[in-house]
C-alpha cells in the first residue's frame, strides 16, 4: 500500500508540492501538477492508482478533469479537494464517479485513510 502511485492536482503550487513531499516521506510515490491539462497528459503516459484533485482550478476545472478521467480510465480512483462551503461540488463529484472528497485544509492521515479505502474498494 505504501508504494502507491499518486497524482496530486492543484493550482496552488506551494500546497501541492509540500503535500507531495509529505506523502513521499511516508513511502508513497507522489507526483504533483498544477493544472488539469498536465494531469491528463501524465495519466495517458504513466497512469497513477489514485488522483487527488482540486475542484476549483483555473482553466479546466476539477469536475471536468474528473469527467475525462472517468471516461478514459474508470479504474483510477479520484479523491476531490474542495474549499469550505463547497460540499455541493464534492457530492456532485461523487455522483460523477469520485471515490470521496475532503475539505481543505486537509488532514494528511485522513487523506491516507481515504486512499487506502479507495484501493481496498477495487473489485
Amino acid at each position: 500500500m505504501r508504494n502507491l502511485k499518486i497524482l496530486l492536482v492543484d493550482d496552488e503550487v506551494e500546497f501541492v508540492t509540500t503535500l507531495a513531499e509529505r506523502l513521499e516521506l511516508r513511502g508513497f510515490r507522489a507526483q504533483a501538477v498544477t493544472d488539469g491539462e498536465s494531469a491528463l497528459h501524465i495519466i495517458e503516459s504513466d497512469p497513477p492508482q489514485v488522483i487527488i484533485l482540486d475542484v476549483m482550478m483555473p482553466g479546466m476545472g476539477g469536475l471536468e478533469v474528473l469527467k475525462r478521467i472517468k471516461t478514459q480510465h474508470p479504474q483510477i480512483h479520484v479523491i476531490l479537494l474542495t474549499g469550505h462551503g463547497s460540499t455541493k461540488e464534492g457530492i456532485e463529484g461523487m455522483q460523477r464517479g469520485a471515490f470521496d472528497y475532503l475539505m481543505k485544509p486537509i488532514n494528511i492521515e485522513e487523506l491516507i485513510k481515504k486512499m487506502q479505502d479507495a484501493i481496498k474498494s477495487q473489485p
Binding site: E12, E14, F15, T18, L19, E21, R22, L25, M56, G83, H84, G85, K104, P105, I106, I108
Partner: protein, 223 residues
C-alpha cells in the same frame, strides 16, 4: 426583480466569499508546511539538536492558530453566502449559533459570555437570512451597550404557543444594570430592531422580569 440594495448586499457577499476561499488556501499551505516540519522533526532523534522540544511546542501553536483561522473563515464564508437566496428556508438554531460566533469578539470586548441555550429540535422557517442575522446581532449589541462590563447573553430559539421565537436573555454582573427595561425601549437600537422585525413580518417584545428580548418570527415570509 432585486432592488439596488439587494444587489449591493449580493455583491458584498460574493466578494467576501471569494476572499475567504483565498484565505483558506493560504491556511492550507501553512498547514502543509508546518506538517512537513513536524514530519522532518519526527525523523530526528530525541537529542538531535538543542531546543527540539521548543520547536515541537511552537509548531503545535501554529497548528492551533491555523485551526482557529479555518473556523473563522468557515464562519465568514457561511455569512457571506447568506444573501445568495432570500427569502430562504433556515433553521433558527443554526442561525443563532452562527450569530453567536460572529458576535463573539464584540461580546469579549465587554467581558460578556455569549452562548446559545439548549436545543429543542429543528425550528425551520422561511425568511430573509441577512435581516434575521441583523435582528439577532442588534439585540446582542443592545445588551452590550447597556452593560458596563461582564455578564452573559444567551440566545434561545424555541416555540412559544406555536410561534417561532428567539429569546435573548441577559444576565448582568453589574449592579447598575438592574433597570434594563426602560433603557432598552428608549434606545435607538430598539427602534432599528422594531423596523427589521416589521420587515420580517414579526415583532420584538421585552420581558422585563427575565430580562429577555423575545423576537417573534413568522413561519413563512411571502415578500
Amino acid at each position: 426583480m432585486p432592488c439596488h440594495k439587494d444587489k449591493e448586499v449580493a455583491f458584498f457577499g460574493k466578494i467576501t466569499a471569494g476572499i475567504t476561499h483565498e484565505i483558506n488556501n493560504v491556511l492550507a499551505i501553512i498547514k502543509e508546511a508546518t506538517g512537513l516540519l513536524e514530519d522532518i522533526l519526527s525523523l530526528t532523534g530525541e537529542d538531535a539538536f538543542s531546543h527540539k522540544n521548543k520547536f515541537e511546542i511552537t509548531l503545535n501553536r501554529i497548528l492551533g492558530q491555523i485551526q482557529r483561522g479555518v473556523a473563522i473563515t468557515n464562519n465568514l464564508n457561511r455569512f457571506a453566502h447568506s444573501p445568495d437566496h432570500s427569502p430562504s428556508t433556515i433553521d433558527l438554531n443554526e442561525v443563532a449559533e452562527q450569530v453567536v460566533l460572529l458576535a463573539s469578539r464584540f461580546a469579549r470586548l465587554k467581558n460578556v459570555d455569549l452562548e446559545t441555550g439548549p436545543k429543542d429540535g429543528p425550528l425551520i422557517i422561511k425568511t430573509h437570512p441577512v435581516s434575521l442575522q441583523m435582528a439577532l446581532f442588534i439585540t446582542i449589541e443592545l445588551f452590550l451597550d447597556l452593560t458596563k462590563s461582564g455578564g452573559r447573553i444567551i440566545l434561545s430559539p424555541r416555540k412559544i404557543q406555536n410561534k417561532y421565537v428567539v429569546g435573548i436573555h441577559f444576565e448582568s454582573k453589574t449592579p447598575g444594570d438592574t433597570d434594563l427595561f426602560q433603557a432598552i425601549i428608549s434606545s435607538d437600537r430598539w427602534e432599528s430592531l422594531q423596523e427589521i422585525m416589521a420587515y420580517l413580518g414579526g415583532t420584538a417584545q421585552v420581558d422585563k422580569f427575565a430580562p429577555e428580548i423575545l423576537l417573534y418570527f413568522t413561519e413563512a415570509i411571502n415578500k
